[in-house]
Symmetry: C2
Subunit: 223 residues, 2 copies
Amino acid sequence: MREFCLPSGLDASALQELDRVVTTRTRFKKGATIYRAGDPFSALFAIRVGSCKTAVLAEDGREQVAGYHMLGDLVGLDGIANERHECQAVALEDTEVCVIPFGQLEDLARQVSPLQHNLHQFLSREIGRDQNVMLLLGSMRAEERLASFLLNLTRRLQARGFSASEFVLRMTREEIGSYLGLKLETISRTFSRFHDDGILEVNQRQIRVLDPEALQNLLSSPC
Amino acid sequence: MREFCLPSGLDASALQELDRVVTTRTRFKKGATIYRAGDPFSALFAIRVGSCKTAVLAEDGREQVAGYHMLGDLVGLDGIANERHECQAVALEDTEVCVIPFGQLEDLARQVSPLQHNLHQFLSREIGRDQNVMLLLGSMRAEERLASFLLNLTRRLQARGFSASEFVLRMTREEIGSYLGLKLETISRTFSRFHDDGILEVNQRQIRVLDPEALQNLLSSPC
DNA sequence: CGAGGTGTTGAGATTTGTCAACCTACGTGG
DNA sequence: CCACGTAGGTTGACAAATCTCAACACCTCG
């Protein structure tokens, strides 16, 4: 777990100092809110167990899922800018997070150069991820979006030592739809089509990827 | 200009040190590439004059405009994560940037706490901006997207001391369409509709906002 | 065991995309 | 300095994708 997280590449004494900063862990039940939009920002949260979604709210109240975060991910990064959270984070299952007080993290990052760089990489990686979601939302059709989502998921699960071919979705069709800019019916239909095409085995949220290459082909072909 | 940029809130000696790091300025002609996807990352670019777009490329070559940056904006932030640029940046008009070598910036940020915090805020603000684009792409219809884009533009121009009601678009209809996840014809039609509704005066890229409230209403009403 | 949340599927409506024709403005070169 | 070529912009008609509404099935949790 550590190699994914902020401590990666730190020496023993730096690790010890980081442990002094990260003293609290918090548990959230499935469905519990980790933070709300507008909450004062004071800390980042590193996911130790479980997963969560982040969502931005439109002026008219519509919710747009903006991220799906799992083990080792850092959430709350968008709160730094204005000292308050711009989106909300909700646990998708029973979840445990490390609370990382941001002021103290900045202090420590000034002393520990690798930690500083890790933090910058996390922030930058989040920007890159968001840009890929923009690409998805701005230029892909429904099948491509879902294929891209599933492939991204399998890669991240694999990187964490889980099976890439069999997993349980933690989001409802509606949440996946929101994330992908589609309606839940479209998600459901697209799952069914992938099933009919022999690409997936779909049983509710239990997914088995039978033909990952077919998913990949949906993305790389010009249409 | 300085108050928008990294130096905001720095004392005289820190400013001097920053000036020692930021020694090069580069000019780009309209249409010139500032960096390409895949280029090794070594520096951030702060826009001093002009504007640029950033764009991510899909596996099949499609281009998705992911950002529209102007005076005071920092571009290249997505390159930190993997030491190479994940997107490309192209000047939309004759543009001048400060080149900020990132390694040196990190060094200085460890010594100058306000600079460190400014950098974090820039990174975080970019994340927030991207999330708002996701909201736009994922849940708004064409009119709402263009209204949101125009309002965002007017706010940013105003913050920089330019007129909020009259400005020149630096992007083609096609680029705006890519940014908003729509085709150029849809952008053109939506401009025409806003024109017919008395919300805008549109002459090619010359825009005059006649009724900003109407634009705002397009966003805040539930449908 | 029942209820409510979640998921599937169908039919028809709506939005946006596609293709095509045409117009306009701008810059380049004569 | 003007003319022309070309990139960019507008508009129309039609096609395609996705959404909407509705009915129903399923599954999980108390």
